[in-house]
Symmetry: C2
Subunit: 744 residues, 2 copies
Amino acid sequence: MRLQVAAVCLIALSAYAVDAGHVLRGYTPEDSAKEINWEQKFRTMPDAARIKENMRRLSARPHHVGSPYDHDNAEWLLEQLKSYGLDAQIEQFSALFPTPKSRELELLGPEPFTAKLQEPPIAVDPTSDQTSEQLPTYNAYSRDGDVTAPLVYVNYGRPEDYEVLDRMGISVKGAIVIARYGESWRGIKPKVAAEHGAVGCILYSDPRDDGYFEGDSYPDGPMRPAEGAQRGSVMDMPVYPGDPQTPGVGAVPGVKLIPLDQVKTITKIPVLPISYADATPFLKALKGETVPEAWRGGLPFTYHVGPSTAKAHLAVSFNWDRKPLYDVIAKIPGAKYPDAWVIRGNHHDAWVNGAEDPLSGTSAELEEARVFGELLQQGWRPDRTIIYCFWDGEEPGLLGSTEWAEAHDAELREHAVAYFNSDTNDRGYFFAEGSHSLENFVNDVVKDITDPETGMSVWKRVRLVDIANATPQERAEIRSRPDLRIPALGSGSDYTVFIDHLGVASVDLGYGGEDEGGGQYHSAYDDFYYYTHFMDTTFGYERALAQTAGTMVMRMADADILPFQFSDLADTVHMYVGQLQKLADDKREEAKERDREIAEGVYKALYDPKKTLVPPPVEAIPPYLNFAPLEEASDDLTDAAKAFDAAYAAAGGVAPAGLNADLIRSERLLTDSHGLPNRPWFEHLLYAPGFYTGYGVKTIPGVREAIEQNEWTQADVQIGRVSVALEHEADLLKQATKLLPAAD
Amino acid sequence: MRLQVAAVCLIALSAYAVDAGHVLRGYTPEDSAKEINWEQKFRTMPDAARIKENMRRLSARPHHVGSPYDHDNAEWLLEQLKSYGLDAQIEQFSALFPTPKSRELELLGPEPFTAKLQEPPIAVDPTSDQTSEQLPTYNAYSRDGDVTAPLVYVNYGRPEDYEVLDRMGISVKGAIVIARYGESWRGIKPKVAAEHGAVGCILYSDPRDDGYFEGDSYPDGPMRPAEGAQRGSVMDMPVYPGDPQTPGVGAVPGVKLIPLDQVKTITKIPVLPISYADATPFLKALKGETVPEAWRGGLPFTYHVGPSTAKAHLAVSFNWDRKPLYDVIAKIPGAKYPDAWVIRGNHHDAWVNGAEDPLSGTSAELEEARVFGELLQQGWRPDRTIIYCFWDGEEPGLLGSTEWAEAHDAELREHAVAYFNSDTNDRGYFFAEGSHSLENFVNDVVKDITDPETGMSVWKRVRLVDIANATPQERAEIRSRPDLRIPALGSGSDYTVFIDHLGVASVDLGYGGEDEGGGQYHSAYDDFYYYTHFMDTTFGYERALAQTAGTMVMRMADADILPFQFSDLADTVHMYVGQLQKLADDKREEAKERDREIAEGVYKALYDPKKTLVPPPVEAIPPYLNFAPLEEASDDLTDAAKAFDAAYAAAGGVAPAGLNADLIRSERLLTDSHGLPNRPWFEHLLYAPGFYTGYGVKTIPGVREAIEQNEWTQADVQIGRVSVALEHEADLLKQATKLLPAAD
């Protein structure tokens, strides 16, 4: 609806436009016509073959933080960017990056077994034998430790899994937990295990989740083979990402470091990731009851909860070194607003060869930069400054992006218009997550991108695929809402510091969903052979990523009035407030129901002499919360957004002085410099990675997590803070509306 | 609510009762007191140790139809019943029962494999080595056949699985299908496969469904081991059960037989059941796409849909012999109403040793008969005639019960009051399925049975367990409805001929749900060792079954007014009518939605060059149906039932002449002698096994299956027939109400 109104107005105003066709939002008809021309030119130019060659070069050797080839790649990227005519440089930082000194995992007892902890070379895969350069399989920021204890299986190791264990009468106190990868971010698993008293944590890749259950195993297919293992960071990033020794500050030479023993983001217990070939003897050693159905993996035996009678011995130690980070940064100065920065980024470091993660994104991003170089030669100049970033050290903990952004904190808070991120990119359907003030912008851009396989716009395609997979209720919304919803950003890539710490409107985008994914995630087999045999083999979606991200950057950089839109934001905030109310109601109903069932004797009826069932404790009924301030504020935001969007549409792309500055501030107003409870680094009040989900987003996190954790006073306080921020946002929009000519 | 009203009235009337306590529904206070006294006596007497010894004796050797030990068991049962002082005899019938002459299954091609088709003896299990007496693993009533063809995997082989294959562009025409056991009755799998053009059918037991995925494998635990296989009948029983050569007629000597080549209930293609050890090479030979997630089993490789390039060779031939059936029948003549028969049954034949199926039921039933013998000696006499039946030939196709009931057709239609069936019985929660005119009766009886593990009544226990497992909506109903709902009867045991063919009110009952079940279903390992190690090891629920079934039989036999109740029936019919309306609406909405998606281009958006996706055909939108006659009739039934139940309560158990005869007729009026469309043997208009589900019930089957199969004219006709029957039922109740004194 909103979209159609806007379109009608723009068409009415476009009588004097260069052509009577489509006018881009935020552009005058003349500027729109010019922009469309340049954008169309841009989109013809990305070359799938070049992107493939970028990937081949960048993935030729292991290139993790601190490795020679990581530095070599950075220098090569710099050289390429310079060769495109761009003003590029390497900005160097440093960060704590532990690497394994020793790793040992044994099963003791009558059938002893020593885990191999090796991903063997595979004959057909030419880079898989670069073992001397590969990082061993390990979890970065695990503490050192040497523990011997019985094993307990904890499913995915989420807080709710421990509730199931409580009902089964199983404690992990003093035990080593064995958890499967998946469902929650890996760093949550040792964190929650330690909170429950475990002394060690083994993570393994179950074939149910990314192995033969999902599809053929590598090298016959893309899925994880028996000895494949997932490396990865277990840094407690929901507290803060980046260099653990310099939270909030850029890790430049001379910076003051927090002593290692005071770092909060290192795990409390030792952790080690293993393959399912290594995990099998440990899982088979578990005694006790058969686990609930949802806990069972794909291995060919019965999963028991434990504990094991045989003990496991886990010993890991690390070199706690600081390593250099090479961020490669290229700038295209803005012709009109050089102090307004549109930033684009993708990391270049990997766990090993990293063809899919991250080079499927990096290789496309580099091609975008090349095309911009060509357009510059053809005479195009962006209105705003464009900054292309190739981050180092994303894998261990978003190190390169975080240190860069922390080092440029004040400038970015002043100048940054928006940040566009990508990472892994595959074949399939467009996806985006991001700031909801950009939801309409993202929708608009991807209506202009052609899907390589179907020839329809990628917007139309994802909309139809969403319809195919939706519930009837969801379908009705998709069909009636002009813009497709974009999910909120959690964490897991380099947008985190921009959106969560600095309050820069951000979008993470890419393609995927057609090929079985994740099979070689953080494995030595995520390499050029793998990607070119099983993933986007034609590089059609690599090209589409370059077209999409490039168009976003260009359209944002050149707009007369920044194409922010707030009706979608207000609609989203309303949805979140409704979810919070439902969450509080559901928690209350659940507590009432649980207490009622205990009183009725349900747990007595469920008694089974062959099993253990511990009834849940009787729980205090959650109180009613006062949501009125949030309801009031989101209504005010809705009204202000509606008025602003109407005035914006009526302005015909003619920007009054001060309006763009207001728009740049709009995302900042959704932050609070005191941050979230217990994690002040996270300043955004609408979006954050969950304290107990890791990558998974919690929207309106202060309120939501307080409700989830039964902290009712905290919930009230947080409702107040968020309401104030939303009222400030509404005020900003009212002020901005006044700058515009009155709408009809 | 209804229950509470009734209870109040009865208490008011009970001032002159023997004690002021509980008065049984349908009893005068004096008779209630006497009955309660006898019932309490009855329930103290069943002896778990005797039941265990019954099982030990009956399961000592394989005892399938036609085997020496089957006959031996029948003679032993006869002897026991006589020794209890009962008037017992063997009634002998005969039936077609094919047994294997030869069975061959090979995988051809580069990696040839010959299936073993053997369940090997297991050292700790003393009867598992009786291989010379065991029936081989096979499916009875598979046709002879010798076919060589590629393989296609069809998941559970249900009609909806073939729709998925259609979308994947896979045809089974000319192929041998390999289907896993589970989700639908086995006989449906070759039937549907043949309808789709398959030339052969392999059934296998996937460890996901009854093997290591569910629990430890035999003999470490109860679940099916690698070489365990499920025998079973594939007779097309939804057309008619019993001897395939004598439908509708008792197979007594001299009966006219339908020639074999005209029998409709033999499969159209050869079928063979195998273990997962045997299935593995065939499944691994499948090429083509990875199957959808819901199709994947528990074996440690990727499941592909096929076809295979290697062909399979399946050859089976059978001895098409007629075998004797020995039904053991014991009667206790009724002192007051000898021509009113209360019938109790459980089969005694098995596929092999059959400790769980059926002897867990048979052994308890025999103990009931013993206890009745003792009570007779103590002076108790039932008002009505009680008939205890031990059926032969249930496993191949409900042969013994069907032939007996067909032979006694006219008598049963006149005299049978109710039939109480049991079969497999395990540890756990009470369950019952049956006629809804007996729903209230079943609820009342099981309030008086004490659960061996918790000491609460089994009614209370199952109610609380239902609450624990219910959705919030279901919970609200359980808490507010006086009676727990009992599901309707489908098929799969000996009640079928009684309820579906003769219209005798029936109940199937038992216990279960605590132990992992079904692991040795129809295997040679379903034996005494298995049952006494993994199932109801204390025989507490065997004793509870004897107490429950015995109390039902006794209370039904002795009642002054038969304890039928019709408000529950009317409520259930209303629920079914609502379901039918929703089914019709959902089908219409689904067709509209599918057609809309095709028009929108959803299937174009889902195009994936690496996969095959065949869009569904555009479908005609189902018309609206006239449900008014059914709504009218079910309202009339509700009114009539309410009036009757109130008058019944007010009568205080004093039976007017003719009332009990009316009540016996009440279930008959729900049948129609013309039967269901295309299967006239099935006469009940409210309940039938589904034509495409086999055991699974279809309620109001004429209408429901017509809607499911898009037969709209048929649906209209069937709505008319069912409405007439319901109006007749309402008229009967009105007439019966007039016999009773006017209620307040």
